[in-house]
Amino acid sequence: MRLVEEILKDAPATPETKLTGKDFQSDQDVRWCPGCGDYSILAQVQRVMPDLNLPRHRMAFVSGIGCSSRFPYYMDTYGFHSIHGRATAIASGLKISRPDLTVWVVTGDGDGLSIGGNHLIHLCRRNIDIKILLFNNQIYGLTKGQYSPTSEFGKVTKSTPHGSIDHPFNPALLAVGAEASFVARTLDRDPKHLQYVIRRAAEHRGTSFVEIYQNCNVFNDGAFFAFTEKDTKDDNVLALEHGKPMIFGKAKDKGIRLDGFTPTVVSIADGAYSAADLLVHNEKDTILSAILARMADLPKLPRPIGVIYAIDRPLYEAELARQLEAAVTKQGEGDLEKLLNSGDTWMIN
């Protein structure tokens, strides 16, 4: 038996007592700016964790660099606060070598999409069972206010006094394009929705990509207020539900209809259209996932939140395990003596 299996053979696979959110709080003081959206995300993650019925010792949170990446210090699980952009790659190695662990990556729009963009897309396509929480605040916070790869065109920041001339990424669309098997979007200021999406990501088997709109009240305050504040959110947000027609608006009077490949807003209050004419959400529809992810870039459309895409496809680590088992079945358990003496050898007498 391998040493790791040997020492962990008696480790419980489920918590011995029912855990609470508090059990997931580490002894470290949380040091984000007062009013930061990260507090809410941390609280909701800690609230959801007990429901997963996993012991704390089986969980690992891996992060890179940035405000969001301080996250693992505040979780009383295993944690690895690594280097800029590489959390997804470190988590990949960890999960491949230890499929028994539940591995989360916490990253931001700078860490995950700029310096770490390469690793992120490759993790998505490989479909290693890792849950990625990408806090998108459309700004560099830790370095004090430069524009990020998700900042809007024309954004005036410390490093773009004349306005940004970079075209931004749409994270959900990037994840869809990178073949992530689970893509969702949620908001820091909607705790219930946030919990729902975190739970869905946790339950998904494969790489889960969750974009969380997160308010940076110091350097980019209000970036998502249109989607989070009471007066505006209902008319600007489309909450996706699998199998349900896409209806939104304060009075639930608007819906999404496809005109060719283009989603359009129609009224279902004036009699021209009814709910039966609307697009019905299907999390497993590959084409629809691209349309929904693209909606964030099209004017006059509500922003879809919820699970955009969730499909089942082979896991990298499971395929690897299958190859290892097949090799053992075919050649027998590796025998070093046999290996060293394989092929052409000769005796000197």
Binding site: R2, Y73, S82, R98
Partner: protein, 609 residues
């Protein structure tokens, strides 16, 4: 006509042709056969970076040199005795490596007007008398191959691909080697296409018969077996040895081997080799880039694997930030750098030793990492095993500096018994009582390896400075200095845990030649030859570069002069001068080629005259 059989102590043969001519394969076949006859040997594959460079060009020439003998062989030979040249370019590029009076076997058919022009010959050197000082044999290898296969209905392309076996057959005859090994190799290799098996076998046998029956070769040669230590041997290249050494370390540590790697010449063969050994439960992860290669390995180490990343110079540069992370989080990791001609892309397929200072110092801030260097192809096995031992015992990344010459070169290797390899490895922390992630083992100063999955040891690691013992993030000035010094002391302390250095030759005298890593063979050959000529010269080859072995200073101070030959501009010299304050004499070569022993002999003579 009866042919004379001459006895030789040692011979160097160079096979040269287009990169598509199969010269590497031909050389490898000759090597394997020669090894099984009990000759000592050393090989040097010398090939272009282009996979199929335009045919007939000078830069497309691929060469394979083998030096074998009945005596100890430590280098692939400075000059060759026999040059097999498949076209004019191969002749032109390699003629300067042929000794005076050497044998040229040229494929006459390859010397077409087009190929002559491509090689820059105005006249055909096979006909203009310019090769008079050599024993020239122009053989119509292509035509002869075609004749042998004419009834088989194979395409011209396939027929052309068989011609290297004709050359191999001639060499087998000339040096009295049996064909069995190559015959059975052909049968195995092409088992799925019986006509290819048939064709290659026919051509190989025809080449052999050609040597025997035609009158152009007056003599054939015999090279008796060397007096090697008794035991069971195999031929092994540096990259194979490195891969197997890591498997051995995995077996002996009972840890799963995880390789995170991105393909790069000349290191990729380690990735290839390890990916074939899945029954050892080796997990190979071909990452999206060099950084992901090392960081995935760090992730695996965090999870309790024996973690490895493999690369060459440009990849080392990309990995350096992550190496700093491994230093900071104190996780075991083996980093193999198969050095090549650099900087930047440099000379990907050529050898060099210029990553030494990068390995020792090339990270931001104080980030000490042990550095080891194998000295022969087979020594790569021992070196990576030792690197694994140190990494696991001291919870540190360890760098192994191989090079292109060791990686692709082969030598006979006495197969070690598995029992003779020590158990190595970790004591995972499992006890939650008083657990502190940055507490220290009193002797090694290593921190505990507490892997995720262990109940009660939940903790956080990371690149931010850690508070002594608790591992909490700390900006305390005194703590930072304490931790910087702690990490340095841990690495320095390894000097107490490695064997003392041993000098070849007298323990004191006029001159000590100090090399490191892959220059061993050339230096040893040179020093032996000068010692035989009565010179007071000794040899020290360093396998441990950082930290140095404890007796290095004492050794250096025992000689009047210290010569340091290196395939760089003097990197070890710098380290020796700064650490031991000696006026080390630097001898440097940066041509993408290994030292010739004659170059070092000349320098020794110069210093001792």
């Amino acid at each position: 006509m009866s042919k004379t059989l001459k006895n030789l102590d040692k011979v160097t043969i160079r096979f040269a042709g287009d990169s598509g001519d199969g010269m590497q394969l031909t050389g490898t076949q000759f090597t394997n056969t020669t090894a099984t006859l009990g000759n000592d040997l050393s090989t040097f594959p010398d090939y272009p970076a282009e996979i199929r460079a335009p045919a007939g060009t000078l830069f497309g020439v691929s060469g394979f040199q083998i030096h074998f003998g009945s005596t100890e062989i430590n280098t692939p030979g400075d000059f060759c005795d026999v040059l097999v040249a498949m076209n004019p370019a191969a002749l032109k590029v390699n003629l300067r490596n042929l000794c005076d009076g050497g044998i040229i076997i040229a494929n006459k058919d390859g010397f077409s007007p087009k190929n002559l022009k491509l090689a820059g010959y105005e006249q055909n050197p096979l006909e203009d008398g310019s090769l008079q000082k050599y024993q020239l044999h122009a053989v119509a290898i292509t035509t002869l191959t075609q004749n042998v296969l004419q009834d088989m209905g194979l395409s011209n392309k396939l027929v052309d691909r068989c011609k290297n076996f004709f050359a191999l057959g001639m060499m087998y005859w000339m040096f009295s080697r049996p064909m069995d090994l190559s015959l059975s190799w052909i049968q195995q290799k092409f088992a799925k296409t019986p006509e290819i098996v048939d064709a290659n076998i026919r051509v190989l046998k025809s080449g052999y018969a050609f040597g025997e029956t035609t009158e152009i070769f007056a003599a054939r040669y015999e090279v008796k077996p060397a007096s090697l230590t008794k035991g069971k041997y195999r031929s092994i290249t540096g990259n194979e040895a490195a891969a197997w050494g890591m498997i051995a370390a995995s077996v002996k540590s009972k840890l799963e081997l995880f390789l995170g790697s991105y393909p790069i010449t000349p290191a990729s063969d380690i990735l290839h080799e390890l990916s074939h050994h899945k029954n050892f439960r080796v997990k190979t992860f071909q990452a999206e880039d060099e950084i992901a290669g090392i960081t995935a390995a760090i992730g695996a180490a965090y999870g309790g694997a024996l973690a490895l990343t493999t690369t060459s110079g440009p990849g080392m540069a990309l990995k350096s930030e992550a190496m700093g992370l491994a230093v900071m989080v104190e996780l075991p990791l083996v980093i193999i750098d198969v050095q090549r001609g650099s900087p930047s892309t440099g000379l990907p397929t050529k050898t060099e030793q210029a990553d030494l200072l990068q390995a020792v110092y090339g990270r931001n801030s104080e980030a000490p990492i042990p550095v080891l260097a194998p000295i022969t192809p087979a020594d790569c096995f021992n070196c990576v095993f030792e690197a694994s031992r140190i990494a696991l015992k001291y919870m540190t990344p360890v760098i192994v500096l191989s090079d292109g010459y060791l990686a692709n070169g082969a030598e006979p290797w006495m197969i070690p018994s598995v029992d003779s390899l020590p158990e190595i490895g970790p004591a995972f922390r499992t006890d939650p009582t008083d657990f502190q992630p940055y507490s220290r083992n009193e002797k090694t100063l290593a921190r505990p390896w507490a892997i995720p999955g262990t109940p009660g040891l939940e903790h956080r690691v990371g690149g931010l400075e850690k508070e002594h013992l608790t591992g909490n993030v700390s900006y305390d000035p005194e703590n930072h200095e304490f931790m910087v010094r702690m990490r340095q002391s841990k690495i320095d302390g390894i000097a107490d845990d490695i064997p003392l250095a041993v000098v070849d030759g007298d323990p004191k005298g006029e001159l000590l030649v100090v090399g490191w890593g892959g220059t061993y063979g050339a230096i040893r050959t040179a020093v032996e030859s000068r010692r035989a000529a009565g010179k007071s010269v000794s040899h020290l080859q360093l396998k441990y570069i950082h930290p140095f072995q404890k007796n290095i200073g004492e050794i250096l101070y025992s000689y009047k002069q210290v010569l340091v030959p290196e395939l760089n501009l003097g990197q070890l010299s710098k380290l020796l001068r700064s650490k031991f304050l000696i006026p080390a004499i630097s001898m440097n070569k940066v041509q993408g080629l290994p030292f010739m022993s004659s170059e070092i002999e000349k320098k020794i003579d110069e210093l001792l005259s």
